[in-house]
Each structure stands twice: as structure tokens, then as C-alpha cells.
């Protein structure tokens, strides 16, 4: 079976290879025999309806939940390692719902994330000038968009082999969604990204490849545009019509309509 990775980057080996990944949360299977690869460049989108195991897949890759199977980062097996060691190998993780430390200041949140000997503080300051101005503020008092910036900045401070970014636009105002997308596009020029995203407009704008999950399994892989232009596939796997999808409707939640363009 030819994957998105093989088609879009026939030359370079994939940066991340997942094969036969299974994961459980409190005894319940949430990821079932998932296999895919992420090419060494560009953004690959991980799509699927709510609750199909996208976040669980990301968490299983870095060992935040119990998992079994093969996970390979730049050719090295990592599925048995502790989370902090996987991250130290060069994985940047931007979790769903930001997960900033609300009782630490912005500056402390960033300092905590510094792994490299020479963290790229300057880059982060240029990307998020707003954060510099608020460095003494408790992260819990920031707006959702600002918290997302902190969360992204924590990942971008270090040199990574890959970024795992989980629903970065969830619940954000349209203008902020645009800014987040721009930041990701900028980051993707130097580091490959595996992106979970409900907003298909953002997917269309950023992603080169897609991996689609349903019921904890991979049901489709391929080029992003091929998938997004195929109304039948979108209807089947995401449960929305391609008409709304092409207008940037989110895949599932009506509540998020306001967030889409």
C-alpha cells in the first residue's frame, strides 16, 4: 500500500514511522493497529471525526498513554522509551487545549520548555512579540489565543526533528486561527509537522499529506488535495459534505462554526 509519505517524498526516508500501533486508556482500546508514515518535510494532517483516536495516537507516539507496536523516529525505535526521553530526541509537542501551566508566568512556561543548550529565544520573540510584553503575567490569565502562542512557542524554542501539533485552532477566533496557521506554515519550512486539525480550510492551506482515522484505525492515506477534493471520501470519513468542507467548515462540531472562516 502506498502511503502519503511514499508518494510525496519518494527520495527521503520518513521522519516518523508508525506501524501496528495499539493504545489503551484505562483498559479501553482507543488506537487499533494504526500504521502510517510522516515524510521528512512539510505538514501531514491527521484527520477524522471526533473521538476516533487522533489525540490518543499522538499521545501514544510519545508514550503519554500505554501503547504497543512500532514507532520509529528518524529510523530509531522509540516505542519503549519514557516520554521525556522521546521528547529529548527532538520531538516538539503542542497538546490539545494548550496545557500551559496556568500558575507559572509566561516566561517560566517558556524557560521550562528550554531543552537545547542554545534555545532559540530570539526566534520566539520575533514570532510572538505579544508574549514578550506579557512575560511576567500568569499564563492562566491569558486569552485562549495567547495561550496557544505560549504552547507553540514552547515547542519552537528547541530544534526538533518533528512537531506533533494537536488541534491548534480549536476554539479560537477566526483572526487568531489565521495567525496560528501562518506560524505553522512558517515553522514547517524547517521542521516536519504532524497536525491534528478539524478546520478543513486550515488543512487545505497547510497540509501536503493526510492520514484519516476512523474507529481507531487508518482508513485513508494520500495527498491532502486529492482527499479534500473528493466529496465522497470526505462525506464518508468526516461526515461533512465537501461543499461545506471547501468553504472551511469544521469537520464535526457545529459549536465550532464560529471559529471557521
Amino acid at each position: 500500500m502506498s502511503t502519503a509519505a511514499e508518494r510525496s517524498a519518494t527520495e527521503a526516508p520518513p521522519i516518523l514511522r508508525v506501524e501496528g500501533l495499539n493504545a489503551r486508556i484505562a483498559g479501553q482500546q482507543v488506537v487499533e493497529d494504526v500504521s502510517f508514515t510522516v515524510p521528512a518535510t512539510g505538514i501531514t494532517a491527521l484527520l477524522g471525526r471526533n473521538g476516533v483516536g487522533k489525540t490518543s495516537t499522538i499521545k501514544a507516539i510519545i508514550g503519554l498513554i500505554d501503547r504497543a507496536g512500532v514507532v520509529e523516529l528518524a529510523g530509531e525505535r522509540i516505542e519503549k522509551e519514557a516520554t521525556f526521553k522521546i521528547i529529548q530526541r527532538g520531538v516538539g509537542y503542542v497538546p490539545e487545549d494548550r496545557e500551559v501551566f496556568s500558575e507559572l508566568t509566561v516566561a517560566e512556561n517558556l524557560r521550562l520548555a528550554e531543552r537545547d543548550a542554545a534555545p532559540r529565544r530570539q526566534l520566539v520573540e520575533e514570532l510572538f512579540p505579544d508574549l514578550l510584553a506579557r512575560s511576567g503575567q500568569m499564563a492562566g490569565t491569558l486569552s485562549g489565543g495567547q495561550q496557544q502562542m505560549v504552547s507553540l512557542a514552547r515547542a519552537l524554542l528547541n530544534t526538533n526533528k518533528i512537531l506533533l501539533v494537536d488541534e491548534p485552532t480549536k476554539g479560537l477566533a477566526p483572526k487568531i486561527v489565521g495567525e496560528v496557521a501562518e506560524t505553522l506554515a512558517e515553522a514547517a519550512r524547517t521542521v516536519p509537522i504532524l497536525l491534528v486539525e478539524q478546520n478543513l480550510h486550515v488543512v487545505r492551506q497547510l497540509a501536503e499529506g493526510v492520514v484519516v482515522l476512523s474507529g481507531g484505525r487508518v482508513v485513508h492515506t494520500g495527498r491532502a488535495l486529492d482527499f479534500l477534493d473528493d466529496a465522497r471520501l470526505i462525506q464518508r470519513h468526516l461526515g461533512v459534505s465537501s461543499d461545506t468542507a471547501s468553504h472551511g467548515e469544521t469537520a464535526a462540531e457545529p459549536a465550532q462554526k464560529g471559529a471557521a472562516l
Binding site: I25, A26, G27, Q28, Q29, V30, N50, G51, V52, G53, K54, T55, S56, K59, I65, E96
Partner: protein, 408 residues
């Protein structure tokens, strides 16, 4: 091979609510009150095995009933032949402790409540009855009824406050309440509890057949009856609607709430029920010991019950019974050992640890938690399964670790 039985219960709505978020387990068929959801499940062969278990249980009870009439010696376990008061006293004590451990099993193994205040109700039974018999001229049964009334009120008050929190905070809060009880007894208000000395049972209004060393075997039979009754009641509660709901609450409180049931009330019900049972055990304990001692209401007693349940195997009724008997007898034998000449002549480095039963029991407890999850019952089960050649069915049944996780 056992099979996963989730998704069968909620009619296809078993999709996790949010990706990786609130999705909680459904290890066994956690239908509330549904058929076949009882402990043990409905695996082939389980019915026959259960029959064997009940039959051997009945035979064991029969043997225990006859024991005071027989002359059986178990050197190293019993201090003398089985008909002697010393042996009967020890056996009666271990049966009462086994019964008390069963009531703790109801809290921890069934409802997932890690209480550190269970001694409060045991102690309320002991001291309540002792004080009432001391101060009022009423016969035993009304006195017991009166004590029970006090316990019911007490358990409702403490339970309804403590259950506002769960997990570790619940443990701390129940401990604090029990400590208050312990402190009151220690303070000896108006000279009613005897303080550190404890109090001697006033026997004026007791029936003659329960008084004196010559009647130890009557007390033995009483203790046996209490153990059997508590076992039957706990079994019945576990298989009742309330028991199923409590187990479901333990596994997944949110889902039970969605089903429109009241987790709080179910937990309170189990809490009060186990308090009532343990207070009755406490009353019989008073008769057996013919006195009340502060230890009966101290947190040490709760910890002892917890140790028994964990030693025997969390989540197992037989485990609680075995743990209770094993602990009581071991404690007694270790105390004898500690005072023996053989230990006294040892060098300090061996003498000091060996002369402290609690050191040995505490260490044993740590080792069981670390290396024998499932305690005695779990280990026996694993061995039996290995002999039968079946694999340890982790898919269908709950492991003690699961239950402990639920209590967190």
C-alpha cells in the same frame, strides 16, 4: 479465552466522549443491575467451580461448628487442642476479624472507598454497648439495638460529609473523624470510657451462657454465626442492584450519572451498611473480650483491617476472610515468638526486629503489595489457573490493581 465485553451495555453509544479525554474503562459488562454482570461472570465451567466453592465452604463451616467438640491439635497455629478456651478464644477472634475485614471489603473492594475511619464504627459498637450496659439496667438485645441506632446516626453524619470528597482526600477525612472518636475515648469524659485503661464489661444483665471462660465455646459459636451472616449479607449486597451500581460507580462515576443514578447516595448506602455490620461485630468483640480497650477505636484497627484485605486480595470475599484469619493468628503467634527465650537470646540486630510483631507484619505487607498484587487469593487463583492450563484471564475479570486504581 475470555472476550472483551464492552460496547454491549450502552447500546452502541460506546464511542468515547472526547478524543482521549473522558473515555473511561468498561472492563466487564458494567450494566447497572443487568443480568450476568455478577462477580465471576458467565464463563463456561465457572458455574461448576462456584458450586464446588460453596460446597467446600459449607463443609468448612460445618467443621468449624463441630470444632469445640473435637480434639484437634494444630501445633504452631493454635495454642492448645481445639476444645480448650485458649484456642477457641483465638479462633473466635480471628473469625470476628475476618468478618470485620469483609465489611471493609464492602467499602474498598465493592464501592472503591478507601476509608481510614472504619474503626470508628467498630469502636462505637464496642464502647456504645459497654457504656449502655454499664449505665442502664436493660437486657442485652435492647442495649444492642440502642447502640445500633447511635451507629446509624453517626455513620450518616460522617458519611454524608466525608463523601463530599473522594480518593485520597476521602481517606484523610475519614481518618480525621475516626481520630476525633479515638480522642474522645482517650479523654475519658465523666469517667465513662475508662480512658487508656479501657472498661470492663458489666455482666449483670447479660444472659448466663455468654459469661465466663467456661462459656467460651458459646461465644465461639456466636462469632462463627456472625462471620457466616456477614459473609451472606456481603454476598447478597454485592449481587443486589445497589452492589452493581456501587461497582459501576467505582469504575465509571460519570456513566452512572448519565444513566440518572445517584452515585453519592449509593456510596452513602454502602458506607452506612458496612458501618452497621462492623459495629455489630464490635459488640460481639466486646462480649468475647469482656471489656473495651482504646485500641478498638484507634486508627491502628482500621489499618489492620486494610492490611487484612490487601493480604487476602482486594476485591475477593474469600481473600478478606483468609486475610483476617491469617493476620490474627500470625499476629498472635508472632507475639508468642517475640517473648520466647529463643528470640531473647539472639544478638540485638536479630532480636529487635523479631521481637516486634508489627515490624514483621508491616514488612510482609510491603512485600505483598510489591510482589504479590492480588494477595493470597489472587496468588491462589493464578496457581489454580496455571494448573488448569488456562491463561490468566485479564480481559474479562477485574484485577485487584484495577480496583485500587478506581479508589484513587
Amino acid at each position: 479465552m475470555s472476550t472483551e465485553t464492552d460496547t454491549s451495555s450502552t447500546g452502541g453509544s460506546a464511542q468515547p466522549a472526547a478524543d482521549g479525554g473522558a473515555a473511561r474503562r468498561s472492563r466487564k459488562a458494567d450494566v447497572v443491575g443487568g443480568p450476568g454482570a455478577g462477580p465471576g461472570g458467565a464463563r463456561p465451567g465457572a458455574g461448576a467451580r462456584r458450586l464446588v466453592a460453596w460446597a467446600s465452604g459449607a463443609a468448612g463451616v460445618l467443621l468449624l461448628v463441630l470444632l469445640p467438640l473435637l480434639n484437634i491439635s494444630l501445633p504452631g497455629v493454635l495454642p492448645g487442642p481445639s476444645y480448650t478456651p485458649g484456642s477457641l478464644q483465638l479462633l473466635a477472634m480471628s473469625m470476628l476479624m475476618a468478618a470485620a475485614a469483609l465489611t471493609y471489603h464492602l467499602l474498598l473492594g465493592v464501592a472503591g472507598l478507601l476509608s481510614f475511619g472504619h474503626a470508628l464504627y467498630f469502636g462505637a459498637g464496642v464502647y456504645g454497648l459497654a457504656i449502655i450496659l454499664q449505665n442502664f439496667d436493660i437486657p442485652l438485645l435492647p442495649a444492642m439495638g440502642l447502640t445500633l441506632l447511635v451507629v446509624i446516626v453517626l455513620a450518616h453524619v460522617v458519611g454524608s460529609i466525608s463523601l463530599r470528597v473522594s480518593g485520597i482526600p476521602f481517606a484523610m477525612v475519614t481518618l480525621a473523624f475516626a481520630q476525633a472518636g479515638s480522642v474522645i475515648v482517650g479523654r475519658n469524659p465523666d469517667g465513662r470510657t475508662g480512658g487508656d485503661e479501657g472498661m470492663t464489661l458489666r455482666t449483670d444483665n447479660l444472659p448466663d451462657f455468654l459469661v465466663g471462660v467456661v462459656n467460651t465455646r458459646n461465644l465461639y459459636w456466636l462469632a462463627l454465626a456472625v462471620l457466616v451472616a456477614v459473609f451472606v449479607i456481603v454476598t447478597w449486597v454485592q449481587s443486589s442492584r445497589a452492589g452493581h451500581t456501587a461497582a459501576a460507580v467505582r469504575e465509571n462515576e460519570l456513566r452512572v450519572r448519565v444513566l440518572g443514578l445517584q452515585p453519592y447516595l449509593v456510596k452513602l448506602l454502602i458506607f452506612v451498611l458496612s458501618a452497621i455490620l462492623v459495629s455489630v461485630i464490635g459488640m460481639v468483640f466486646l462480649l468475647l473480650q469482656s471489656g473495651a480497650v482504646p485500641r478498638a477505636i484507634s486508627s491502628d484497627l482500621t489499618i489492620m483491617l486494610l492490611v487484612m484485605v490487601v493480604l487476602g486480595g482486594v476485591g475477593s470475599r474469600w481473600g478478606a476472610v483468609v486475610g483476617g484469619v491469617f493476620y490474627t493468628i500470625l499476629d498472635q503467634r508472632l507475639t508468642t515468638l517475640a517473648n520466647s527465650e529463643a528470640v531473647k537470646s539472639l544478638p540485638d540486630i536479630l532480636r529487635v526486629p523479631l521481637s516486634e510483631p508489627l515490624f514483621i507484619l508491616g514488612t510482609l505487607f510491603i512485600l505483598v503489595v510489591l510482589f504479590l498484587p492480588g494477595g493470597l487469593a489472587g496468588t491462589a487463583e493464578r496457581l489454580a489457573q496455571r494448573r488448569r492450563g488456562t491463561s490468566a484471564g485479564s480481559g474479562g475479570t477485574e484485577t485487584p490493581q484495577d480496583i485500587l486504581e478506581d479508589a484513587a
